[in-house]
C-alpha cells in the first residue's frame, strides 16, 4: 500500500513534528510566531519564472521554479509548494498546492483581460517561506498553434487525396474497386429463394438514418431489390425506426420501377415494428420462424441482438449474408452466417453497388491514407529496429524525424 512518496511525506510530517516539539513545548503558537523564532528555516524556492503559455487562447500561464534546496528525498521538511497569484496587483490568492519535488505548474485560470504576478512558497507543517514575486504578465492569445504543424500537414495530405479522387471520379475517371466476397453471393442467394419459392428477409440494423451504417445498408438494399424485382421473388423488411421505414419504401419502390415492375411493389414489404431493441428482436424472431425465409440479409448497425437474429436465421436453414462495422458483433455473424462483410467492407460494398463517383472516389482516397499508414509503419519499424540494434546514424536520424512527425 505504501509507496516511496507516501513515506517521504509522512517522514516529513514526523520530522517537522519532532522539530516543533523539540523547540516549542509551550502553548501553540501562531504561524507568524513560528517563523519569527530563530529556527533554522528552510530555503525558499527560487528563480520563479512566469511565461505566457504558447499556442493557446490566452487562458494559461506557465510557471516554473527551482525547488528549495531543502527539498530532500529523505526526511523532507517540505510538505507542499503553495502558489499565490495576484491579478492586477490585488491581494494574492492561493491558487494551488503541489507536492514536494514539483517545479512546474500551468495556471489556466487566467484571461487576456488582466495582468498577473506570482509567488511560490515552500511550506513545512509549521511555516512557509515565500519566493520573490514575479513581474506582472498578461497572457497572450495566439493565432496559430505551431506545435501542430505536422498534424496539419498530414490532415491536408489525406484530405487532399480524398478530395482529388472524388473530383476525378466525378469527371468520369473509372475507379477500380475489388470484388467483395459477400456481394458475389447476392445473386445466387436471391436465385435460391426464387427456386424454393420462399421469401427474402432484409434487416437494416436497429439504428436510425443518422448512422452511416444504416445509410450504407439502404444503398445495398437498392441493388438487391433490383435483382429481387427481376427474379420476381418476395421480400419483407421489418424495421426499428420510422424514418428508416420511409426511406426503405422509397428505395424499394425506385428499384422496382428501374426493373420495370412497378406493379409488383407494395408498401407492405417494409414494416415498422418498434424502437425498443428487444421488442423488435422478439418480433423479428417470430417472423423468421413463421415465414421461413430462404435468404436473410443482416446489413447495418447491430448491437446485442446480432447473435439472436443470426442464430435464429441459422436454425431455420436460411442463407445469411451479414455485415456490420461494430467489431463486438462481428464474431456472431462470422460464426452463424454464410458471408460477412467486415467493418469497412460494408461501406465499400455500398460504394461499389451504388456506383456513385463521390462514394467510389472517397473510398479510393481512404486507400491512399492506408497506403501512407503502411508505408510509415514499415519505414518506422525498419528505422527503429536498425537503430536499436546497430546504432547507425542515418537510421537514428530517420527515427528522430519520424517521431517528430508523429508527435
Amino acid at each position: 500500500m505504501k509507496n516511496s512518496l507516501a513515506d517521504r511525506s509522512s517522514g516529513g510530517i514526523i520530522c517537522a513534528a519532532l522539530i516543533t516539539i523539540f523547540f516549542f513545548s509551550g502553548p501553540l503558537h501562531s504561524q507568524e510566531d513560528l517563523v519569527s523564532l530563530s529556527v533554522k528555516k528552510i530555503a525558499p524556492p527560487s528563480s520563479l519564472l512566469a511565461t505566457d503559455h504558447k499556442y493557446d487562447n490566452g487562458n494559461s500561464i506557465s510557471l516554473s521554479w527551482v525547488p528549495s534546496i531543502d527539498d530532500a528525498l529523505m526526511n523532507n521538511p517540505i510538505v507542499a509548494y503553495k502558489l499565490y497569484r495576484s491579478s492586477n496587483d490585488t491581494e494574492p490568492n492561493l491558487i494551488a498546492e503541489l507536492p514536494p519535488g514539483s517545479s512546474y505548474f500551468l495556471d489556466n485560470g487566467v484571461s487576456t483581460d488582466n495582468s498577473y504576478s506570482y509567488s511560490v512558497s515552500a511550506s513545512t507543517n509549521a511555516y512557509e517561506v515565500l519566493s520573490n514575486r514575479t513581474e506582472s504578465i498578461t497572457p497572450q492569445s495566439e493565432w496559430i498553434n505551431y506545435n501542430k504543424k505536422y498534424l496539419f500537414l498530414m490532415v491536408m495530405i489525406i484530405s487532399g487525396a480524398i478530395m482529388y479522387f472524388i473530383v476525378s471520379a466525378k469527371r468520369g475517371k473509372e475507379l477500380f474497386v475489388r470484388k467483395i466476397a459477400g456481394l458475389e453471393a447476392i445473386d445466387e442467394a436471391v436465385g435460391r429463394a426464387t427456386e424454393m419459392g420462399r421469401p427474402i428477409m432484409y434487416i437494416p440494423g436497429i439504428q436510425d438514418m443518422d448512422d452511416v451504417q444504416t445509410i450504407a445498408s439502404l444503398t445495398i438494399l437498392g441493388r438487391i431489390t433490383r435483382t429481387i424485382a427481376e427474379y420476381d421473388s418476395k421480400i419483407f423488411m421489418p424495421v426499428a425506426r420510422s424514418l428508416v421505414m420511409t426511406a426503405a419504401r422509397e428505395t424499394i419502390k425506385a428499384s422496382y420501377q428501374a426493373a420495370s415492375r412497378p406493379d409488383s411493389y407494395s408498401d407492405d414489404m417494409v414494416n415498422y415494428i418498434t424502437d425498443e431493441q428487444f421488442g423488435y428482436v422478439a418480433h423479428v424472431n417470430g417472423l423468421m420462424v413463421r415465414e421461413k425465409p430462404a435468404t436473410v440479409f443482416l446489413l447495418g448497425a447491430f448491437f446485442a441482438e446480432s447473435l439472436i437474429l443470426a442464430e435464429t436465421g441459422n436454425s431455420i436453414g436460411a442463407i445469411q449474408i451479414a455485415g456490420t462495422a461494430r467489431p463486438a458483433q462481428l464474431p456472431f455473424f462470422i460464426a452463424a452466417c454464410d458471408f460477412t462483410l467486415i467493418g469497412e467492407e460494408l461501406f465499400a460494398a455500398s460504394a461499389y453497388l451504388s456506383g456513385e463517383p463521390m462514394q467510389l472516389g472517397s473510398l479510393k482516397g481512404q486507400d491512399v491514407g492506408k497506403a501512407i499508414a503502411m508505408f510509415f509503419v514499415l519505414l518506422g519499424v525498419l528505422a527503429a529496429t536498425v537503430s536499436a540494434a546497430w546504432d547507425i546514424e542515418l537510421f537514428n536520424n530517420l527515427l528522430d524525424n519520424l517521431n517528430e512527425l508523429f508527435s
Partner: protein, 226 residues
Amino acid sequence: MSLILARKEKRSSMDIGMFFAALLTLGIFSFLYKDNPVYKVCEAIFVGVSAGFWAITYFFDNIHKKFWLGVFPQEGDSPDYWLWGGAILGFLMLLRISNKIGWIARWPLSFIVGATAGLYMMLYFVSNALNQVADTMMPIVAYASDNSVLWLDTFGNFIVVLGVVTGLIYFFFSKEHKGLFGTGAQVGTWFLMITFGASFGYTVMSRMSLLIGRLDFLFGDWLGLF
C-alpha cells in the same frame, strides 16, 4: 493452483421494493420460456419508465441546472446569454413532432452533424490513426536491460506489425487481392479472425456476468439463500 475456502456473509432484506424488483426480474425472464403477456407488460413498463427516467434526469441536470440557472442565475452571478442559442436550437428540434414545420428541425440536426463531423475528423485521425501508426513504428527486436534478446516479446512485436500491415491490406479496396498482395490480405483475415475470437470470448464473459448479477440478486438479495 487450488481452490481456497472463503467466507461469505449472509444477507437478506425483504422490503416491498425488493419484492417488486424480483417480480419484474422473473417477469422478464419468463420470455425465455416463451413470449407471453407478463413479459409484454414488463416490457411496456420498461419502455415507459426508462423514457421517463431519461427525460427527468436530462431536465434537471441540463435544462434546469445548466440552461435555466445559467441565464437566470440565483445570486450575484452574471447571466450567460450565449446559452439562449442552445435553447433556441433545442426548441427547433422539438418542432420535428409537427408534420408541417418539421423540416425546421434540420437546423439543429445540421448543427449537431456538422459539429460531430468537425470534432470526429480530428479526434479519430489523431487517436485512432496517427497515434496507432506511431506506436506500431517500434523496434521489432526487444532487448532486456542486459542487452539479451527477449524472444517472446520480439515475436509479439513482429505479430503486431504483421497484423497491422496485413489487416490494412485486407481493407484495401482499389487493388485486386492477387499474388503477394492477395497472400497479405489472406494473412490479414487470420488476424481479424483472432481479433473477433477474442471479442467473442470477452462477450461471453460479459453476458455471463450480467446473468450472475441477476441470479445473485434473486437468490442473495431477495431470498437471502446465501
